[in-house]
């Protein structure tokens, strides 16, 4: 049995679901960011697998994956800086306790 496109897509769908569950169920903002990283990785697996099996003549999928990795690094840096700033002013990083803008 050969490894086909569907195998990679199913693995990436499960990885995305795990990240989604992490984002929905965690209270800690850093843990939510970890869930987001898992979801971005699932998208990268999809892009590279589709490049390999559907359009192997070019490397457009690799280019998209590299751009996503760059943007994920930016997102992690800014997100973690926001977490630190929120911790300094509110003294918590639990997202269900940060409700100063909620009436």
């Amino acid at each position: 049995m050969r490894v086909g496109l569907e195998h990679y897509l199913v693995v990436s769908a499960v990885l995305f679901g795990l990240g989604l569950y992490g984002v929905l169920s965690r209270r800690n903002a850093v843990a939510i960011l970890m869930g987001i990283e898992l979801m971005l990785n699932a998208a990268n697996v999809n892009l590279v697998a589709l490049n390999r099996y559907v359009a192997p003549g070019a490397v457009a999928g690799h280019v998209f994956a590299l751009v996503i990795i760059t943007l994920a690094a930016c997102e992690a840096a800014v997100g973690l800086a926001l977490v630190l700033a929120a911790y300094r002013t509110l003294e918590t990083i639990h997202v269900d306790e940060i409700n100063v803008m909620k009436w």
Binding site: M1, R2, V3, E6, H7, V10, V11, A13, V14, L15, F16, G17, L18, G19, L20, Y21, G22, L24, R27, N28, V30, A31, L33, M34, G35, E37, L38, N44, V45, V48, A49, R52, Y53, V54, P56, G57, A58, V59, A60, H62, V63, A65, L66, V67, I69, T70, A72, A73, A76, A77, V78, L80, A81, L82, V83, L84, E91, T92, I93, H94
Partner: protein, 163 residues
């Protein structure tokens, strides 16, 4: 056959630590489990003949982002987080939503007839990726470098202690 075994091992290496990442009560353990999960994705990239993406994945994800996350866990309250509740009140609805989403996604993915592409990947994709970045995708290249600069300045401004 060997490809299938490698794929199964790498898929397990990706998904089992990912379960630990989203369920562990210990935040440091969750962040450390993120590293083997990202390395499993790296292995999948190698299996898909994307060596350059795999190298960048190791450098940026498994290196930089994992260390950054560990630093922020250490800098904020509670350390490992074992003393406080880690899940919010929508844990079970969230689990149901995620499981339903995955089931729907897999059902669609398996039924879709994917077109088989013609042609082969260039041997050694690094040169091809570099050439694509500086010709066809030069706008994306420049914009992402601008985003990197802006997020660098933004992270510094946000995280700086107020004088």
């Amino acid at each position: 056959m060997g490809e299938l075994v490698a794929f199964l091992v790498l898929a397990a290496l990706t998904l089992v630590p990912a379960v630990v990442v989203v369920t562990s009560r210990n935040l440091v353990r969750a962040a450390m489990a993120l590293i083997p999960s990202l390395l499993g994705v790296t292995g999948l990239f190698v299996l898909l003949q994307a060596e350059f993406v795999a190298g960048i994945q190791v450098l940026i994800y498994a290196g930089a982002i994992a260390v950054l996350i560990l630093f922020v866990i250490m800098l904020t309250e509670g350390g490992t987080g074992l003393a406080v509740r880690q899940v919010n009140t929508q844990r079970w609805p969230g689990l149901a939503a995620a499981a339903g989403f995955v089931a729907a996604l897999v059902a669609v993915l398996v039924r879709t007839p994917w077109p088989a592409g013609s042609g082969t990947l260039p041997a050694g994709t690094t040169a091809a990726v570099g050439e694509a970045f500086l010709t066809e995708f030069v706008l994306a290249f420049e914009v992402s470098s601008l985003v990197l600069l802006v997020s660098l300045v933004g992270a510094l401004v946000i995280a700086r202690r107020e004088p």
